[in-house]
Symmetry: none
Subunit: 199 residues, 4 copies
DNA sequence: TATGAATGAGGGTTCATTCAT
DNA sequence: GATGAATGAACCCTCATTCAT
């Protein structure tokens, strides 16, 4: 019974490292953050860190995977077909993590890395595909119910919607005169008008 | 007389370095690309490179500045007020550089860097502000002519439009089933419906 | 009674570790093989390994000792004085281990290490001295029987013979056109002519 | 004219590094010697050393190549066919480097490394082949003149002779009672009797 | 007996930058 | 204007070893 806890400790330590790495990556970028910085942040010696992860790349990859999974996790759990894509989008905005745009700035690190690192690109694609599948189904269902413009290709549209969603953290970098709530409303409006059946 | 040409040579050399740096940054990222790589790409010794730029940061900053300026340069030169924002957007898409989504992936490097580097953030904001000013004026003129929904705040809307524009290079990272032309059409549709006056 | 077996297990485990270490040393060299590699090869945790050996050096030293002892073990057991040195040499060649020249390549590791490590040098010398003593006696007896050239100093000659013997694993490193059997015959011929009384 | 010296300086620096590395390898082995040790020995910063060699392996390989080449260089320059292999062997012994058996102990490092490192093995073989070719020719010529036993295969014999030669540095590791001059005489005797035509 | 968490010094290598020529 | 020698701190990672359990 008591022994059972050991693997949990191991996994717990891994999560601590990932969290420490996330903070360092935010401050210095994926490449700018060094192993020794992450070790300091995780209060751990460099030798020990390598008992949990075989390389810095492995840390980045798992961090990317878990981060993207958590970003998109709010979609699952919704009773399928009960809502339009518009609602889905709107809910996506309110999910955990998105209320801290600073924290999710790491998405840009991943996008930049994905442009030149095949493995990160695969992780990004895999996680994005999950959301796109859900969005595609929601759009198709919405079209069947006459709530979504039938002229739109559901699959392509889902890609555009995800891109729009991911572009959100860009706003505070460009401007100080637009807060989170206002930009959320504007984008929701844009998507709403985009999807609405045209008469 | 003869001496007059020297500063031009100097400027030409600087541009060569910036172009070489751009290629390296694309391949390895802002932090991953090293001075020695840039030197090799520019066929130049490291000592000599430092005659043109005082530091790697200076290279990144000027590269960022010129890159963003060129991205947005198509807006200037248009007789003001003659076109709707929709047209502007559509033209933006056809500008130099955007036809090579791969090449403009460097935007993500800059967005990531802007999140943690004040100077890059300032450069990004400065360049974005130029486009936003033009877009804001075009939107206001469009509203006056009844071509743009008057309910939209022109300033805020311009920010969203720029964000949407900058999100475009994301698409090829997410999906292989959506080519440049199709995504351009979809986004143009979305923006068109967004801005159209609602009856 | 039951407890009696424990020390045997202990010794068995030590031998397993030494065998695992030997394999690692062959693949990566004395310095290139790490404790963690040896642990993996021996299917044992590092903490546990240190219950059997106090240090990596201790492993190397005991491995060296047992390896050299086994190399030379065929000499003992022979009824003293009954055979000439030539026969001894010839038998040495057929002993266990020498038929796998790859396996005995580790001798070079030990020779290299002996050049700079006093303790290994002592182990090498101690084991070599044992063979040299036997060879010296055999040579002396051979001289008494007129089968060995009396002009040769038995002690010095024994050193040369051991060196010739130890040089054998070098051959496959130099050439592919000379197999074990042929080189064995050639060396036996050389030693035979060397020792034979000159008329 | 003055400029001509620059590449010579470069080559000179490389040779200094190789000499420093050789000393370190002698003291600590190929793997035991660290780059920082070599840098200290060569009075050079680690960053600078990598302007001359791309890796530690490259240092080892060039050192091996030049060391082996110098070991065997005394053979060339002899008017072909004028001497027996015995004389060749005897001269080999007096060549530069062999009078310092300590210094040439590095041969064992190379033999050990050759056992598990393909590139070192190739370098060893290449250099050995040069000597074997010369020895083979000398043996063949000696057989034609009746000075060498015709029953011996010249090619195989040359391999054995090189192995015997390379085994020499082993002697001072095994024993203190046999000096360089005595062991040289004994080995020369052995080889002489080996090659002599049997009546 | 046996584990694997933990250390921190050191491994080979690359870095941005400076300077003498 | 142009070179490349030179630095040494920092890079990611591995090491032999110890210790609590």
């Amino acid at each position: 019974m008591v022994r059972k806890r050991v693997p949990e400790q191991h996994e717990g330590r891994r999560q601590e490292i990932l969290a420490a790495a996330h903070r360092c990556f935010l401050r210095h970028g994926l490449q700018g953050a060094s192993i020794s910085m992450i070790c300091k942040e995780a209060a751990m010696s460099p030798g020990h860190l390598y008992h949990y992860f075989p390389s810095k790349d492995a840390i980045i990859e798992q961090m990317a995977d878990e981060y993207l999974a958590s970003l998109h996790s709010h979609f699952s759990g919704h009773p399928e077909g009960e809502q339009t894509a518009t609602v889905l989008l709107s809910e996506l905005w309110s999910m955990k993590g998105w209320d801290d745009l600073g924290h999710c700035r790491i998405l840009f690190e991943l996008l930049a890395e994905a442009g030149r690192n095949e493995r990160i690109r695969a992780i990004l694609k895999e996680n994005t595909d999950g959301v796109r599948t859900l969005l595609t189904e929601a759009l198709t269902a919405g079209q069947a119910r006459g709530e979504v413009d039938s002229a739109l290709d559901p699959k392509h549209t889902s890609a555009v919607l995800v891109a729009v969603l991911d572009a959100a953290p860009m706003l505070p970098l460009m401007t100080a005169d637009l807060n989170f709530e206002e930009s959320r409303k504007l984008i929701t409006t844009m998507v709403g008008r985009f999807l609405k059946p045209q008469q």
